[in-house]
Amino acid sequence: MSNEQTEFAEFFRGSWEPCLRAVVAVVGSPQSAEDQVAEAFAKAWVSWRKVRRHPAPRAWVVRTALNTGASWWRRRRRELPLADHDVTALGDLGDGLDTTLLTALWRLPPRQREVIALRIFLDLDTDTIARQLGIEAGTVRMHLSRGVTALRHELTTAKNMEAGQ
């Protein structure tokens, strides 16, 4: 294996899970996300000399995966991407999951999901998220604030209901 292949393999093994979880957080379907992320890593390998110099290569993979999914969906339905069409039923994801937050997360607008996913799985700061998404830092803060507020509301409601029982 060449040095380039070894370097890519290390990046791939270390980045697969956080990238996949970030994409799942946005698209809501582990199956779709897995294929989109695999395709994004394949593209990353084709363009590895460029991606390895990218300031946030994991974010490049996530954005490419999301673009791949958006393009696939547009071709099939000629509709705007990232609606709730692809969200997997939570019952299909296994037992023992706390579904309150997952349900709330997947009800958020796509951009809010994207910002939250990049923050919690790729640990990107506001300025880096803004550069990756091509939006202003203030817009990132707005999406993050609104998303967190909505999630907090769902959590609070659920806990108050538990406390009231």
Binding site: A9, K43, K50
Partner: protein, 232 residues
């Protein structure tokens, strides 16, 4: 008890992270399989280049046979200027042929592409791109001219590309950057950009490497002989 005030933003994000981390996700596939998938993408693209080069050559020959006079003229289905010809095909695509003997008029090309429903940003001396580029380039530009992409650059005689406006992703447009190089050659780069997020540079992208934000299958670059000392 109301717990609303007890959860900070970080606590909410941690809770979301915990919930998402509990989701079962697939283990990483074999990295060799991923690299093979990438190589397959590259092969598919090169295969498309080969087939379209033959079609482009045939189309160029036909165009040269039918049009002996260059100059601003419009006929139904065809827009012809001194620097390019744009043909509207019956399948909804449009074929752009650049006349290498003349300097490209970016404003005219942008307007005429719009006339055929193709949103584009045509620039001279600069090139705009998004990072990452929107997906779907290979559907919008289904095939690339000889001399483009990877491998040893082979200057083409008359660049011809076919564009399918029906495949244009929402919120995207074509970026066509045109450069006159110090070597006397001309270079054109084409990529999809996100209309709400792109940057422009006055530096020609390395040829045949793709511009930032795209890979080899999501862009094309073509280099061709310039008008020469007696041109334009």
């Amino acid at each position: 008890m109301n717990v609303h005030d007890e959860m900070s933003d970080n606590e909410v994000l941690c809770a979301a992270s915990d919930s998402l981390s509990a989701l079962p996700v697939a283990s990483p596939p074999d990295v060799e399989a991923i690299m093979a998938r990438g190589r397959a993408r590259r092969r598919r693209r090169l295969s498309a280049v080969a087939s379209v080069s033959v079609a482009a050559a045939a189309g160029t020959a036909l165009a040269l046979g039918l049009t002996g006079v260059l100059g601003p003229a419009r006929t139904p289905g065809t827009i012809r200027t001194v620097s390019f010809t744009l043909v509207s095909n019956s399948d909804g695509t449009a074929t752009l042929t650049i006349n290498p003997k003349e300097l490209l008029d970016p404003a005219a090309l942008q307007n005429d592409l719009a006339h055929y429903g193709i949103p584009a940003k045509v620039t001279s001396g600069s090139f705009c791109s998004s990072d990452p580029a929107p997906a779907g380039f290979s559907q919008v530009v289904p095939g690339q001219p000889a001399g483009s992409g990877t491998g040893t650059p082979q200057p083409v005689v008359q660049p011809t590309i076919t564009i399918d406006p029906s495949a244009m992703p929402a919120g995207a447009e074509l970026s066509i950057g045109y450069f006159q190089l110090s070597s006397g050659e001309q270079q054109a780069n084409v990529v999809l950009i996100d209309t709400s997020s792109y940057t422009c540079t006055s530096t020609p992208p390395d040829f045949p490497s793709p511009p930032a934000g795209s890979d080899e299958s999501d862009s094309l670059g073509v280099r061709y002989s310039g008008p020469g000392p007696t041109g334009s």
